[in-house]
């Protein structure tokens, strides 16, 4: 934790120094942005999110004269590959990707390769509204300080989903979940690691079974790794025979798990968006008896970010979009359970009254937990843990059913 606090200090100081110089610069940014077309490369697998990006586009056009084109990706890696190829080909300006929806490992890799423009986040006028203290995930991505190289756009926290018409009392903690799995063979599963949601489930289990989860915030100590992770593998060994298809097959990713839940193949699913279930109910694709729950002690939380490649052709326009995403009206719309149900990255309590009212006016959605019920958000473990346990999972379970 101490390490994380120091990171906050660095970011806070940097943002203070930067904000003065930046105030007058912003006018020149918006002037240059007017008339630009920004190509935002973002995963296009969810029609609701696509609609929301289209809404941001219409706002950007109306407010700042910036045209937004959503380049719909099947995988963020496709955009990373494009930027990488441009750098290798020596194209340092006029790149095809202006803005990219990014998280965790993609961010770490792009930053390490020098593929990102920045720091820019602190220079956004709306940055001061972001709750960097109450929501530390807005400035740390997989324990890596973002240092202003990416700007948050939504909070995410792991929640479990169940149909209250089928299951009266959902498990209260990890031990309860295990008891449920053993008592109901074939009715629970998780996406196959190294899929990020599958790995998130492994992290959640580690938080529940490790003697000292605090060590997850530091890089893996090879000497203690075996002993530290032994309870994780013991837990998985116990539940695997009782998983969906007896763990001889796994869903590929979050959408595939969601589909199994919608098809009633599993009784409990989980997602990274606490408002997903409500939004699906609103869209008429899940029964209105679906509810969500979290495990005692908290669940893994993180944030979604946008970043700007180093060679973006329309950097100013991208900055305007990144700033617009942090606008209270846009954030409140994203949090509307009928739209996306994404939790805001802003400090709602500190907003001006008329902006705060936008959030107060929102209903929670039938299946969404209130902030109090959502419980604490556990920090993402250090990236070295993720790499190691994902690789070990593949060795242990990934090649022979």
């Amino acid at each position: 934790m101490r390490l994380t606090r120091r990171q906050f200090g660095i970011v806070a100081t940097a943002s203070l120094l930067a904000s003065r110089a930046v105030a007058q610069d912003w006018a020149s940014v918006t002037a240059a942005a007017r008339g630009q077309t920004v190509y935002w490369h973002a995963w296009g697998g969810d029609p609701k999110i696509n609609d929301f990006i289209a809404f941001i586009g219409s706002e950007a056009q109306a407010r700042s004269g910036v045209t937004l084109e959503h380049v719909k990706l099947a995988s963020t890696a496709d955009a990373v590959a494009r930027v990488l190829a441009e750098r290798d080909a020596g194209q340092t300006t006029g790149g095809a990707v202006d803005l990219i929806w990014i998280n965790g490992e993609n961010f770490a890799a792009m930053k390490a390769q020098g593929l990102l423009f920045g720091p820019f986040a602190q220079s956004l006028p709306n940055w001061r509204l972001v709750d960097t203290v109450g929501k530390p995930a807005t400035v740390t991505d997989f324990t890596l300080p973002t240092m202003g190289y990416e700007s948050p756009w939504a909070m995410a926290q792991l929640v479990f989903e169940y149909d209250s018409a089928q299951l009266r009392a959902p498990p209260a903690d990890l031990a309860g979940l295990k008891a449920f799995i053993l008592a109901h063979p074939g009715r629970f599963t998780y996406p196959q690691p190294p899929d990020y949601l599958g790995v998130t489930f492994l992290k959640q289990v580690m938080y529940g079974v490790m003697a000292d989860p605090g060590i997850l915030q530091s890089p893996v100590d090879p000497a203690g790794y075996e002993a530290a992770t032994a309870p994780l593998w013991a837990f998985l060994d116990d539940i695997h025979p009782s998983l969906w298809r007896s763990a001889r097959a796994f869903p590929a990713n979050e959408p595939a798990l969601g589909q199994l839940f919608a098809d009633a193949e599993v009784d409990i699913a989980f997602a990274f968006n606490p408002g997903r279930a409500s939004a699906e109910i609103a869209a008429g694709t899940l029964p209105d008896t679906v509810r969500t729950f979290v495990l005692a002690g908290g669940t893994i939380g993180n944030a979604s970010f946008v970043a700007i490649p180093f060679n973006a052709a329309h950097r100013e326009g991208a900055l305007v979009i990144a700033n617009l995403i942090l606008d209270p009206a846009v954030q409140a719309r994203a949090q509307d359970p009928a739209v996306l149900g994404f939790q805001t990255v802003l400090d709602v309590a500190a907003l001006p009254p008329e902006d705060k009212a936008r959030f107060d006016a929102l209903t929670l959605g039938a299946a969404t937990l209130s902030p109090a019920d959502l419980g604490p958000a556990l920090l993402e473990p250090h990236a070295s843990w993720v790499t190691r346990i994902a690789a070990d999972w593949v060795t242990r379970y990934g090649t022979a059913p």
Binding site: G45, L73, G94, A109, R245, T387, P401
Partner: protein, 555 residues
């Protein structure tokens, strides 16, 4: 002309190949250990390597064999009979079904919570919740093999139909029958040798495709481990960017596997030829064969195609479904929300898709016809090396192949754009057009040209007024295949276009990644529409033009 075509094709193919080889041998700015064989080491260390490689081989070879045998059996059983036209009409739209949609449709049909189970539950099965049965993603890859057969069969059928007019099948079968041969035996002994010679390249393409398919394997194939082609994608798109070398090394292994499988297939061809010759000399008429096998072929032959149809019908229902829970056989409520959402931008994306497809296919047809005509006039013969060059874009995993191609495009200063995308489509369209057209073109009866020449016609006149009209069916079929290939391109369109060129497929594949059956159902129908139109034209136009020429353009 062959030189120009080869040049056009070889530059991008070599760029793609180098782009694959470089990271495999550590010659990549991202390689963690510098030049060397570390990437191969990483590949060997993966415990799933052999199961994955074995799966690629068994599902690829098994599906090709099944699809070929079923297609030939159906043609042998139905040729010259009234049902033949129906089967043709039934199969041709299936060619244009996007692979992901075909796989998802099949998965929805046969999974324990799928349409069949829903239709029978709970009244017949007693299931109120889906049973925990491993049907899709089975470790042996059976679901994947069935899916590949269903998708490859229509292609092979179309290729057979394009080749049949050059085999004189009807008269040969009549002759065989008059000598007392059964239908299947007569077909195998008199039509098959000439037919297969024309079919060989398409069959090789099907084999290469079956061994390298990604989308189908992701949806229907096992996951512990997945097939090698899927694992290559996993490595190439790994977010930490540290496994691109491993992906490239595995891509090379995959090329090796395909080459090995093709060599074995060639050996098997020789074996089958020997046994057919032997069978011919025994003089057996094979009457029993018909009694035993014909019902099987007719009964089971269309099952994969029917399953594909049913799966697509399921997805179509999903596209207008509101809530559709297990075990309801139909959705609880219907909504047009998915279609309304897809509406805006549909015309623009559709027009771009069509323009790219028509441009790349027209160019490919022109080049291939010029090559084949030059080959005919000057007695040229393509070497094995040339054929390999042609096949590389088909058997190379696109994730490994495209970075090199993209580097070439960027280094040449090309800024995305539709022209650049169309020329990259050409790299993938040209091989299919060539292999669809080459054999029928060469099999055309040269005596007709001789007669034309004897009557004073120039070679150009023979080409335009005799050869091309008589081969119109084959040319249009090749064009329809080309259009289908172009419409199906996702990664090349996205990467080379830099996201500036939006087609139905870039839209559909991005949306498919969310696994949303409603959206996938809607876009599958849209994506099918353009190529289906092409195939319908390929079948209808020759009939229309030659309605008063009984022997031309019809099987």
């Amino acid at each position: 002309m062959p030189g120009l075509t080869l040049g056009l094709l070889s530059v991008p193919v070599l760029a793609g190949l180098i782009g694959t080889l470089a990271p495999a041998f550590g010659l990549d700015p991202l390689a963690p250990d510098g030049p060397g064989l570390a990437a191969f080491g990483g590949m060997w260390q993966w415990p799933g390597l052999w199961p994955a490689a074995r799966l690629s081989v068994t599902s690829g070879v098994g599906s090709t064999l099944l699809a070929l045998v079923i297609s030939l059996g159906l043609v042998a059983a139905l040729i010259g009979r009234p049902g033949f036209a129906t089967v043709q009409r039934l199969l041709s739209p299936l060619l244009s079904v996007p692979h992901a949609a075909a796989a998802l449709g099949l998965a929805f049909l046969i999974s324990p919570s799928g349409w069949i189970a829903r239709a029978l539950s709970p009244w017949a099965t007693g299931w109120t919740a889906p049973p925990d049965l491993l049907i899709v993603n089975d470790p042996a890859g059976l679901a994947l093999t069935v899916g590949l057969v269903a998708k490859e069969m229509p292609f092979l059928m179309l290729m057979i139909l394009a080749a049949l007019p050059q085999t004189d099948a009807a008269r040969r079968l009549t002759l065989a029958a008059s000598l007392g041969y059964g239908r299947l035996a007569g077909f195998a002994l008199t039509v098959l040798p000439g037919l297969y010679a024309q079919l060989r390249l398409p069959v090789y393409a099907v084999l290469a495709y079956g061994m390298t398919a990604v989308e189908m394997a992701m949806i229907l194939g096992p996951t512990l481990p997945p097939s090698l082609s899927v694992q290559v994608v996993h490595w190439a798109t790994e977010p930490s960017l540290t496994h691109r070398g491993t992906a490239a090394a595995a891509a090379l292994l995959q090329i090796g596997l395909v080459a090995g499988a093709l060599a074995l297939w060639r050996l098997a061809e020789l074996g089958v030829t020997r046994s057919l010759r032997h069978a011919a000399t025994t003089g057996r008429r094979g009457g029993l064969l018909d009694r035993v096998l014909l019902p099987v072929v007719l009964g089971l032959g269309l099952t994969p195609a029917l399953a594909l149809f049913a799966g697509l019908a399921g997805l179509s229902v999903w596209s207008v479904a509101g809530l559709w829970s297990f075990p309801d056989a139909l959705p609880a409520d219907l909504t047009l929300a998915t279609w309304v959402r897809a509406g805006p931008g549909l015309w623009g994306a559709g027009a771009t898709t069509l323009t790219l497809a028509v441009a790349s296919t027209a160019l490919a047809l022109g080049l291939v016809l010029a090559c084949l005509e030059a080959e005919h006039r000057y007695g040229l013969n393509p070497s094995a090396g040339v054929l390999w060059l042609l096949y590389l874009p088909l058997i190379m995993p696109q994730v490994a192949f495209l970075p090199g191609l993209q580097m070439l495009a960027l280094s040449a200063g090309a800024q995305g754009g539709a022209v650049m995308v169309a020329s990259v489509h050409l790299v993938f369209v040209l091989p299919y057009v060539f292999l669809s057209l080459a054999a029928p073109y060469r099999a055309w009866d040269g005596r007709i040209a001789l007669q034309g020449a004897a009557l004073g016609a120039s070679p150009a006149r023979v080409f335009w007024q005799l050869r091309l009209p008589m081969l119109l069916g084959a040319v249009l079929t090749a064009g329809a295949v080309g259009i289908a290939v172009s419409v199906g391109q996702y990664l090349p369109t996205l990467l080379i276009g830099g996201g500036r060129v939006e087609t139905l497929t870039t839209e559909a594949v991005a949306l498919s990644s969310g696994g949303n059956r409603r959206v996938i159902g809607a876009y599958a129908l849209l994506q099918m529409a353009l190529p289906a139109l092409g195939f319908a034209l390929a079948l209808a136009v020759p009939r229309l033009i030659f309605r008063n020429r009984r022997g031309v353009g019809l099987a």
